[in-house]
Symmetry: C2
Subunit: 314 residues, 2 copies
């Protein structure tokens, strides 16, 4: 049961709304991948193990103590077991600092990568530290700024292989709430784009951040009195909010090369916005970075005698 | 049926979520008041008349053509009948500019006060023009700035009895969405207050509006890593958002006396915030202003021969 085609360990990215898992070989190749909507947000404590087994059960055969390395919100206070934050500045993943969770099923042995907290200004991350560890695994000399676009976009400064400082903007969540739940929902389309409207709104928010709340309502007003299109409204809303973020995070990106983790539509929007502001960007694939980070955490366990023994037993 | 104790006309404030009505005498005194949750937002076109009659039916006796004067969202595109916007600068209520709606019930004759639009910058109001008309009815020489705190707070500049310019901030809606629907809901209490946290957040948003999106997330982070209280989180969220608004609306209030329409908790928060920024405030009662505005619209109808005739018939 330890040939190249068997599951040597399992990597898991367990966020608020999604659960993703990869079956991995001893040398870190992906044997299989799977995903479900059993995100942390919808689970109570006793639901975690069944949700995980539903996804990865088929990969376990009759093994024992297969290491399952998890990152993300699964380690939050509302998660499976709280993995206490480590404090920045610090390495994204540190040796001997995984939080062990006792599973009922003997086939698996669960380890959670803790998130990272920053005291001043107060900030937290869970999951992004793993992607950053992945970036550093591929480029150990990386020094500079990482942008991780998402519901809660993070800006992270890396130096000497450590996360030195970071800052979270809930821009994505604000966008969804305003586009779907506020009075703007009558004016903002669910899709489509207008590049010029985005760029104008971005510039205006960077130049006059104090006008953002007023410019938000004017999206509604213009759609009522001058037939602003739903596509243009969508791009403008995005530009206003990302502009507010870029104005606030300027110390991170101004005049630099930014590593943008993401290849989806949102990441492309950040690319465009940063380029408009004179920064340069390098894109990285999120899944590749997550897997590289999970691998670097798993390597600790695979080198630990107990883990090797356990795997041989299987 | 035209003695001092009979309903001579009915005033209605019909907003998105609430419907309020007052039975009025010929000299504008309130005979009765009533309210329901039949706001415009939950009604389709054919629901408006029944919703109104459910509320005011008991006041109508066997009268005919009782004038019912309505302000608010009832005149919007999604309302009973669209009352096209009048364009600023303009008088808050203009003679001969009410939108007539034919009711099926012969006892009532419906008139909607149109809202006001501004083209540059784009903005709209429906309902606030009536409150401003009420303020001007009591103080015809008023010249200056009116602040109308609410879900969508409005700042209005009045000169020569006209609405010259105005600006809407969806601060209240943002507060509700963030406090109740975003990740901050885990940290922000439903009640309670911390004056110092409010003041600090207000100052920080006025000084560094570009930091607002970051400071929003730090409410969540501080509650996770340093036990920020839910009361303090609530006050800070309010301070951040109202600070962003006051930074943007500074040209309206800076160094002035502001007429604040409202006596509820939200209006008190605006009072405090404006005083902290060196502006002075005078408070006005919203219901009194609404009624005075409805009276000034009704006076047009009551002086019109058809309305008087109709009432005599009753």
């Amino acid at each position: 049961m330890s040939d190249a085609f068997s599951t040597r360990w399992v990597g898991v990215d367990w966020g608020t709304s999604r659960l993703r898992a990869w079956a991995m070989t001893a040398d870190g190749a992906v044997l299989a991948r799977s995903a479900s909507n059993s995100g942390m947000g919808g689970l109570s404590r006793s639901d975690f193990e069944p949700a995980l087994l539903a996804l990865i059960g088929p990969w376990l055969a009759d093994n024992k103590n297969i290491p399952v390395v998890c990152c993300g919100m699964v380690g939050s206070r509302q998660g499976w077991v709280e993995a206490p934050y480590r404090v920045a500045p610090t390495f994204p993943i540190a040796a001997g600092q995984l939080t062990y969770v006792e599973a009922q099923d003997q086939r698996i042995s669960i380890h959670i990568i803790p998130g990272i907290a920053q005291h001043e200004p107060a900030d937290v991350m869970r999951g992004e530290e793993t992607q950053i560890a992945g970036l550093l695994a591929g480029d150990p000399d990386f020094s500079g700024v990482v942008c991780l676009p998402g519901t809660h976009t993070k800006w992270v400064r890396i130096k000497d292989k450590k996360i030195c400082m970071f800052s979270t903007y809930l821009t994505g969540e604000l966008f969804s709430l305003l586009a779907e739940k506020s009075v703007l929902r009558h004016s903002v389309g669910a899709g489509g784009w207008d590049g010029q409207a985005f760029r104008d709104a971005l510039e205006s928010s960077i130049a006059e951040p104090e006008k953002v709340a007023e410019h938000l309502f004017s999206i509604r007003a213009q759609s009522l009195i001058s037939d602003l299109s739903r596509m243009e409204a969508r791009a403008r809303l995005s530009g206003l909010l990302i502009g507010l973020e870029l104005g606030g995070s300027k110390a991170y990106w101004d005049g630099r090369n930014v590593a943008v983790l993401g290849t989806d539509a949102l990441a492309h929007i950040y690319h465009e916005a940063l380029k408009l502001q004179g920064a340069t960007c390098t894109g990285y694939d999120v899944e590749a970075m997550t897997l590289a980070g999970l691998r670097s955490a798993a390597s600790q366990l695979l080198n630990a005698p107990y883990a090797l023994e356990a795997a041989r037993d299987g």
